[in-house]
C-alpha cells in the first residue's frame, strides 16, 4: 500500500533530522541565486547561520511579488543549461510567475506524484485519463509523468471537448481520471445528453480532483455521480505543482510530504506562526529543488494542520481541505466570506444544479450579494411555487452560514459560463459602482 514505505512512514524525529540536512543544502544552493544572494547580503546572513529548521525564522518570507520582481531568472540557482523545463502560474492576478526545473527536480517531483497516486489506489494496469490542460500549467504534465511512473496507461487527452472525453472513457476502459471538480459536475450533463451513465457505461473507480478548492459536498456529488472514490490534492506551481499534498484512502485530510517541503502555518495579518491545529496561511519551503529553491513561500492558501496520527500509518502530517485563498476572501458589509462556504451550502441542497456564480454589487454605498444558482433539470415539476420554495431554502441556508442575506436568482441548467479551467465563481462589480 506504500509507494515508498521508508519515506512515507519515517518517524517524525527522523523527518525533522532529514529536514535539517536538506534545509542546509537548500539554503546554500539558494544563496547562489541572484535574489537570495542579494537578500542574504542585505541582512548580513550567511548559509552557515541556518543550521536547522529552528533557524528558519531568520529568513524573511518570499512572496509572489518577489518572484515577479526578479523575473524571470532571478531565483535560478544553477547554470542556465541545467534547466530542462519551465512552468508558469496561471497569472490571473498580474504578471505570471515562472518556475524552472532541472532534470533531477523533475525526477523528484514525478516521484511525489507517483507516491500520491499510488497512495490513493492507482496501480500498474490502470487506465488514467488526464483531463487537465497540457501547457505551462503544472497540473497536466505533473500528473502525466507521475501516472506513467506508477505504470498506468496514460491517455493524455488534455482539457475540453466533453464528448470526446466520454468517448475515450468508454472506448479504452478508463479507470482513473484527473479532473477539475467544477468540470466534473458540468460533464455529468454531457453524459445525460449522450444518454450514458458513468456508473453503468464506464469502468471509472478513481477521480483525482485538483486545481481548484472545492467542498466536501462537491466531492460527494462527484463520487455519487461517477461511482468513484474521489481524492483531493493540493499543489501550486511555485512548489512544483500538484503532489505537494494528497489524500490517502482515509479521505481525512491531505498528507503533506514533509521530506520534500517544510510546512509552516502563519497568521496572515501578523505573520506570526500559529500552533498546530490553528487555521492560517500555509508557508512552504522547498527541500529538494536545486534549479530554483524557494524559501518560506507565502502561498496565500488558508488551511490548518490536522492534529493527530492518520490511520493509514503515514507519518507526514495532514492539512485540511483548502478553505480559500486570502485573495479570494470577500468582505461584504464587513463580513468575511469565502466562496467555498457558499459552495458547501449550495451543494448540500437537493435541486441545486452543478454551477453557480456570485456577483457583488454596490448600490447607494451598500454592498449586495447576488447568487445565481443553476437548477437541476430533474427536479422541475412545472410548478413556480416549487422554484420559489427552492429559492427560499437557498436564502435561508446561506444566511445561516454567512450572516448576510443574499439575493438568490435561479437560472436555467447550463446557462452559466462553463469552465474547462479553474471556475470563475465571483464577479465583483463594486469598484466600478463606487
Amino acid at each position: 500500500m506504500y509507494w515508498n514505505r521508508e519515506a512515507e512512514t519515517m518517524p517524525m524525529e527522523r523527518v525533522r533530522k532529514l529536514q535539517d540536512t536538506l534545509l542546509r543544502d537548500t539554503v546554500a544552493q539558494a544563496a547562489g541565486s541572484h535574489f537570495y544572494g542579494e537578500r542574504f547580503a542585505a541582512l548580513g546572513l550567511t548559509p552557515a547561520d541556518i543550521r536547522s529548521v529552528d533557524d528558519l525564522s531568520k529568513i524573511p518570507f518570499t512572496t509572489k511579488d518577489d518572484l515577479r520582481e526578479d523575473w524571470p531568472y532571478g531565483f535560478v540557482a544553477v547554470p542556465r543549461e541545467e534547466l530542462v523545463r519551465m512552468h508558469s502560474s496561471s497569472g490571473t492576478t498580474g504578471r505570471a510567475t515562472v518556475i524552472f526545473h532541472t532534470a533531477d527536480d523533475l525526477d523528484a517531483w514525478t516521484d511525489l506524484l507517483a507516491r500520491s497516486m499510488y497512495m490513493a489506489g492507482m496501480r500498474k494496469g490502470d487506465v488514467f485519463q488526464n483531463m487537465m490542460t497540457y501547457s505551462l500549467f503544472t497540473g497536466g504534465l505533473g500528473f502525466h509523468y507521475g501516472a506513467e511512473r506508477v505504470g498506468a496507461l496514460v491517455i493524455p487527452v488534455g482539457a475540453g471537448n466533453s464528448k470526446r472525453q466520454i468517448q475515450l472513457m468508454s472506448d479504452f476502459g478508463t479507470t482513473a481520471m484527473h479532473i477539475i471538480p467544477s468540470y466534473a459536475l458540468h460533464l455529468s450533463s454531457v453524459f445525460e445528453e449522450m444518454g450514458l451513465d458513468p456508473r453503468r457505461d464506464t469502468a471509472l473507480k478513481l477521480a483525482f480532483l485538483g486545481a481548484e478548492p472545492h467542498s466536501e459536498e462537491t466531492r460527494r456529488r462527484v463520487e455519487d455521480y461517477y461511482g468513484v472514490k474521489a481524492f483531493n490534492s493540493y499543489g501550486l506551481s511555485e512548489m512544483n505543482g500538484p503532489g505537494v499534498s494528497f489524500e490517502c484512502s482515509c479521505q481525512c485530510g491531505m498528507h503533506i510530504w514533509e521530506d520534500n517541503f517544510i510546512v509552516e502555518v502563519i497568521d496572515p495579518k501578523t505573520m506570526e506562526p500559529l500552533d498546530e491545529g490553528e487555521e492560517g496561511e500555509l508557508v512552504l519551503t522547498t527541500l529538494k529543488r536545486r534549479g530554483m529553491p524557494i524559501l518560506r513561500y507565502r502561498t496565500k492558501d488558508l488551511t490548518r494542520i490536522i492534529p493527530g496520527d492518520c490511520p493509514c500509518g503515514r507519518t507526514h502530517r495532514r492539512i485540511e481541505r483548502i478553505k480559500g485563498r486570502t485573495d479570494d476572501m470577500m468582505i461584504i458589509k464587513g463580513v468575511n466570506i469565502f466562496p467555498i462556504q457558499i459552495e458547501k451550502r449550495l451543494m448540500d441542497i437537493p435541486g441545486v444544479g452543478s454551477n453557480f456564480q456570485i456577483i457583488l454589487e454596490r448600490k447607494d454605498y451598500n454592498d449586495h450579494m447576488i447568487v445565481k444558482v443553476e437548477v437541476q433539470r430533474e427536479i422541475f415539476t412545472g410548478n413556480l411555487k416549487q422554484l420559489e420554495d427552492l429559492r427560499r431554502k437557498i436564502i435561508e441556508e446561506l444566511k445561516s452560514d454567512i450572516l448576510i442575506t443574499p439575493k438568490v436568482e435561479l437560472v436555467e441548467p447550463n446557462s452559466l459560463p462553463k469552465t474547462e479551467g479553474k471556475a470563475v465563481r465571483v464577479i465583483d462589480n463594486r469598484e466600478r459602482q463606487q
Binding site: T381, G382, L387, L410, N414
Partner: protein
C-alpha cells in the same frame, strides 16, 4: 381523460419566450393557450399545444428545462356564469386549484377551461358525474378555437 400542459422553466429576460416560440413555429406546433407566471428573475411558461409530446421533445432538445404535466381541460359555456357553475362545484368538493386559464372555442357558445389540481383523477370523475365534458389530448388537439372557424 387527461390533457397535457407543457411547462418551461425560463429566466425572465429578453429572448427566452422568443426562443420557445421560434422552436414551436419551426416544428409547426400550434399553441392553443399560454400563460406566464414570474417571480422577478425567473418564471414558468405554461402552454397548451396541439402536439404536446413532439413539442416537449423539440424544446428539450434545445437544452431547455421542460415538463409535461397532466391537467384537466373542461368545456364550459361561454356565457355569464359559465365559469361560476364549474368553480362552485369544485368548491363544494373541496378541490384546490393550483393554476387555471382558459380560451374560447366558439364565441358565445363554449370555451375550454384548463385546471391544474392536486387530485386529478378524483376531480375528473366529479366533473364527469356533474355532466361536464372533459377533453383528452387528442380532442384538445382537434378542437378549433373560434377564430379559425369563423374567418
Amino acid at each position: 381523460m387527461i390533457s397535457y400542459q407543457m411547462s418551461i422553466f425560463a429566466e425572465n429576460k429578453p429572448g427566452r419566450l422568443a426562443k420557445i416560440t421560434s422552436i414551436l413555429g419551426r416544428e409547426k406546433i400550434n399553441i392553443r393557450a399560454i400563460t406566464i407566471s414570474t417571480s422577478d428573475v425567473f418564471g414558468v411558461v405554461n402552454m397548451i399545444v396541439d402536439r404536446p409530446q413532439e413539442a416537449f421533445k423539440a424544446i428539450e432538445k434545445e437544452g431547455m428545462t421542460v415538463k409535461l404535466k397532466e391537467v384537466i381541460a373542461v368545456i364550459i359555456d361561454d356565457k355569464p356564469g359559465g365559469l361560476d357553475s364549474l368553480v362552485q362545484l369544485l368548491l363544494r368538493e373541496k378541490v384546490n386549484v393550483e393554476n387555471a386559464y382558459g380560451f374560447v372555442l366558439e364565441s358565445w357558445k363554449n370555451a375550454v377551461f384548463v385546471i391544474d389540481v392536486d387530485q386529478i383523477e378524483r376531480t375528473q370523475s366529479i366533473l364527469e358525474k356533474a355532466g361536464f365534458r372533459v377533453l383528452d389530448a387528442e380532442a384538445l388537439a382537434s378542437a378549433e378555437p373560434f377564430h379559425y372557424m369563423n374567418y
